[in-house]
């Protein structure tokens, strides 16, 4: 039992289980999964589907935080990717009245991902080559990025009528949401890279002590550049899913506050904000906790606005528990005299 409690994934899993139990207690059919219209159906599937974009962004963020970085521009990158894709697919119709895509779908999606990757690379260059603090470097794109997205869309919300575009956000493959496939696939690849190749070790080394890692021969600068670029790509992928799900691109509100949710998911998953210690599976659980929390608040009939207060309380609790000073204080309060013995 003690060993179980010390496992890195114990607390995130327990939190998620607790949330699900609370839901099940109030709504017995909450955990039910059925087969409807040729795919899985139920609250849990809905949560998984909605959590997918957050999972994807948070996976990218996990690696950035693991190398002592931070990327607060992901929300803006989501808006840019959505704008590029929606712009290239266009809201047009062909001569016979059916919705048509202006450019081939693969081209539109590819261009959107490319734009997002360039955004990530840009952040990486500012941090690694220009030596800026990560929060400042990504602040620049956070401020300007949404402006760029609005410039692309002309300040309008672009609605897409081309059905194949909807597959990413609301389609199903083998009964499971396509977005979930993408998120799980991404996690599996990253997990493989982090555990079966030296990359995980390198990232831990950089996060633990950048200078020591460099001296030990880790190509810290190159890896950091790749990590930021990947974070941009992940945000772009999430942007495509989000925009596909709402069948439009809104430069102003797409991905709003997503950077905060992503950081929260990473923290909840047990990744240390000081770098070095990270858990990809924990991040996935963290994203699920956030989405389940939202669903819980809705299903309990509490005004959805309370969500922000609950999230704030969660962040305070998690960061205090991560702080060595707080744990020391807690130990002294709970077991007075233990220090003297």
């Amino acid at each position: 039992m003690r060993r179980l409690a010390q496992h890195a994934l114990f607390w995130p899993s327990a939190t998620l289980a607790l949330l699900l139990l609370v839901n099940a207690a109030f709504n017995p059919s909450f955990l039910a999964i059925s087969w409807r219209d040729g795919h899985l159906y139920g609250n849990l599937i809905d949560i998984l589907n909605r959590a997918a974009p957050l999972m994807i962004v948070s996976l990218g963020m996990t690696l950035v935080i693991a190398i002592r970085g931070l990327d607060i521009s992901v929300g803006a990158v989501v808006a840019i990717a959505a704008a590029v894709a929606a712009l290239l697919v266009g809201g047009g119709f062909s001569a016979d009245g059916t919705a048509a895509s202006e450019y081939p779908l693969w081209f539109a999606l590819g261009a959107a991902l490319l734009a997002a990757t360039v955004c990530g690379l840009w952040n990486g260059v500012l941090v690694v080559k220009a030596g800026m603090q990560p929060i400042v470097a990504t602040l620049i794109l956070m401020v300007a990025g949404r402006g760029v997205a609005q410039l692309l869309t002309g300040g309008q919300i672009i609605t897409v009528y081309y059905p194949p575009y909807y597959v990413l956000g609301s389609g199903f493959l083998l009964g499971v949401p396509v977005a979930l496939w993408i998120a799980v696939l991404l996690w599996a690849v990253l997990q493989w890279l982090a555990t079966r190749t030296a990359l995980g070790l390198f990232i831990r080394a950089i996060g633990g002590n950048p200078d020591a890692a460099r001296v030990a021969g880790v190509r810290a600068a190159d890896i950091a550049l790749c990590v930021y670029t990947f974070c941009g790509l992940a945000a772009g992928l999430a942007g495509l899913i989000i925009s596909s799900n709402v069948k439009s691109a809104d430069a102003n509100s797409a991905g709003q506050l997503l950077e905060l949710d992503a950081i929260l998911a990473v923290t909840l998953g047990g990744t240390a904000l000081t770098g070095g210690r990270f858990s990809l599976a924990g991040t996935v659980l963290g994203a699920l906790i956030i989405q389940t929390l939202t669903a819980t608040i809705y299903s309990l009939g509490v005004p959805p606005e309370v969500n922000l207060v609950v999230k704030a309380a969660l962040v305070f609790a998690v960061m205090l528990l991560q702080s060595a000073e707080f744990r020391a204080l807690l130990k002294r309060t709970l077991r007075p005299g233990a220090g003297a013995a």
């Binding site: 603090q133 401020v143 402006g147 904000l273 922000l308 207060v309 999230k311 960061m319 702080s323 000073e325």
Partner: protein, 318 residues
């Protein structure tokens, strides 16, 4: 010229250049009222940016200020609605803002937490509390508030200032005095320059850091009061993203984000530059408002690169 003054000089020169550009290009741009309007329309930004300057000088950051402003407008509107006296409302919200900041400062100082994440959670909390009060906009019809909102202070040449703008100027002057002529100000610079050195010098690091966040929270609440005069309503979506504008103004004003170097006066010019960008775009008429964000982003980039250049030169000299 003393080296830390150079970024400030660049900022002032940039402001003057933009003003001349506007004057040459657009008719009626070079009038006193246009420039006073920069201050009137950005009074709340100016107040909050002065508080942010102290936080950044100490090497920290405060992301909660925009949300604290919104919370202040909400609490003000709700209390006025409940029939409170206007002055009592102002005193109450300032106290709440200061307490909010102090708690954040305490968490950062006592438990060694990252300022960024603490104030992020504070931002969630303050916005969430706004929604708890009401999700709708609450209009304000209190006699004192409307009188203050409509008051105009003539400054000659047919030009005038609002009460909010006067408060902003007073805050800048007060901030300059605190930063450069008090023990507290010196300690803030010392902490930003090097925390362990400041501690070894026997400076009250812990108390000062908490007071820095207290000051920032209090300034955010004061900015909220100024915004309440400006908008005459309380709304949970007031001042969304204002923390970014405030940070941008401080950086453009020449304060190093690493802490320890900068001037409160620079922040005033940072705010004025953000304001003049908007005014230029408004005068042009053909450019859309999102250009503001792009131009601010580009300016942020240039100033950050400039800062890196200064740091690199200082290091190579040392």
């Amino acid at each position: 010229m003393r080296r830390p003054l150079l970024p400030l000089a660049i900022t002032v020169a940039l402001f003057v250049a933009m003003a001349i550009f506007g004057g040459v290009r657009y008719q009626g741009f070079l009038s006193l009222q246009v420039f006073l309007n920069l201050l009137i329309d950005n009074a709340f930004l100016c107040v909050v940016a002065v508080g942010m300057t102290f936080v950044i000088l100490s090497g920290g950051i405060d992301l909660s200020v925009g949300a604290v402003i919104a919370l202040t407008t909400m609490i003000s509107a709700a209390l006025l609605h409940a029939g409170w006296n206007a002055w009592a409302v102002m005193a109450t919200v300032l106290a709440i803002g200061a307490a909010f900041g102090a708690v954040q400062g305490f968490l950062i100082q006592r438990f060694g937490l990252a300022p960024f994440i603490v104030t992020l959670a504070g931002m969630f909390l303050a916005r969430g509390c706004c929604y708890l009060i009401s999700t709708e906009s609450i209009p304000i019809s209190d006699a004192t508030y409307t009188a203050i909102a409509q008051a105009r202070i003539p400054v000659g040449f047919d030009a005038s200032l609002t009460v909010g703008a006067v408060i902003a100027l007073a805050v800048v002057l007060g901030g300059m005095r605190i930063a450069h002529a008090t023990e507290f100000g010196r300690t803030v610079y010392a902490i930003g320059g090097g925390e362990s050195a400041a501690r070894l010098m026997g400076l009250p690091v812990a108390a000062t850091r908490i007071r820095v966040y207290l000051l920032s929270g209090c300034m955010a609440a004061l900015a909220g009061v100024v915004m309440t005069f400006y908008m005459l309503s309380g709304y949970s979506l007031h001042a969304v993203g204002l923390e970014l504008d405030a940070i941008a103004a401080v950086v453009i004003g020449g304060t190093l984000l690493a802490g320890g170097v900068g001037y409160v006066a620079g922040t005033l010019f940072g705010v004025l530059i953000l304001g003049i960008i908007q005014t230029l775009i408004a005068f042009d008429g053909t450019l859309s408002s999102w250009w503001t964000r792009i131009v601010v982003g580009v300016l942020l980039l240039l100033f950050c690169l400039l800062q890196r250049l200064f740091e690199a030169r200082t290091r190579s000299k040392a």
